[in-house]
């Protein structure tokens, strides 16, 4: 079975600053994918970024980037130039044969 651990239940960041959300995972799969999803107050899950485990290059989507350390099984999300609209729950997930989600990190953006 796979497990995904987010050790930071809550984080806060000043507007325009940078914040990093942590995620570790454990899997026996050789072929897997990693994701960060954002869940704003509307509660709809929105894909933020995706990383294929076989790729060494870290994925980037505009202000969002990941630090993927495969040997350490670590997959952190960096949000640069934080905006008020980034405030949400962020879920890390791994996908082998099915999705496994972490318990989430609640991000507050301080104006």
């Amino acid at each position: 079975a796979q497990t995904v651990t987010q050790s930071q239940p809550e984080m806060s960041v000043q507007e325009a600053e940078t914040v990093t959300l942590s995620c570790t995972y454990d899997t026996s799969e050789s072929d897997y994918y990693l994701f960060w999803y954002k869940q704003p107050p509307s509660r709809q899950m929105i894909l933020v970024i995706r990383q294929e485990a076989y790729k060494q290059q870290n994925a980037t989507e505009n202000r969002f980037s990941v630090n993927f350390q495969k040997a350490a099984k670590s997959f952190s999300l960096k949000i640069s130039d934080s905006q008020l609209g980034d405030a949400a729950m962020y879920f890390c997930a791994s996908l082998g044969n099915q999705f496994y989600f972490g318990t989430g990190t609640s991000l507050t953006v301080i104006p």
């Binding site: 509660r43 709809q44 899950m45 989430g104």
Partner: protein, 113 residues
């Protein structure tokens, strides 16, 4: 483009009553479909997934069942709701292999009293 719909958005039901939540996907064919439950303050738990019409895989034995009567329709049901069935139910779809990115619907908030 593809869109996914869920209804109702919110539902309040008494214990012991039946349940039917519906999910439909537009703009794609033969998607993989998923039902998740999110309890308050927790992550997502996969309940069911389907790779085709009439094909349902259950991940968690419980009071719920799922059906896929049409290619782009996925239904979550219960004959008798329990208090523990309260939560936020999310439907998702993906294409191709089960390892593809999943895209989520807006969710249904269910409160069982």
């Amino acid at each position: 483009s593809q869109t996914i719909h869920q209804w109702p958005a919110t539902l309040v039901q008494p214990v012991g009553s039946p349940l039917s939540l519906e999910c439909t996907v537009e703009g794609t064919s033969n998607p993989n479909l998923y039902w998740y439950r999110q309890a308050a303050g927790r992550g997502l738990q996969l309940l069911f997934y389907s790779v085709g019409i009439g094909q349902i895989s259950s991940e968690v034995p419980q009071n719920l069942s799922a059906s896929r009567p049409q290619d782009r329709q996925f239904i979550l049901s219960s004959k008798k709701l329990l208090l523990s069935d309260s939560g936020f139910y999310l439907c998702a779809w993906s294409m191709g292999r089960l390892q593809e990115t999943q895209y989520f619907g807006p969710g249904t908030r269910l409160l069982v009293l």
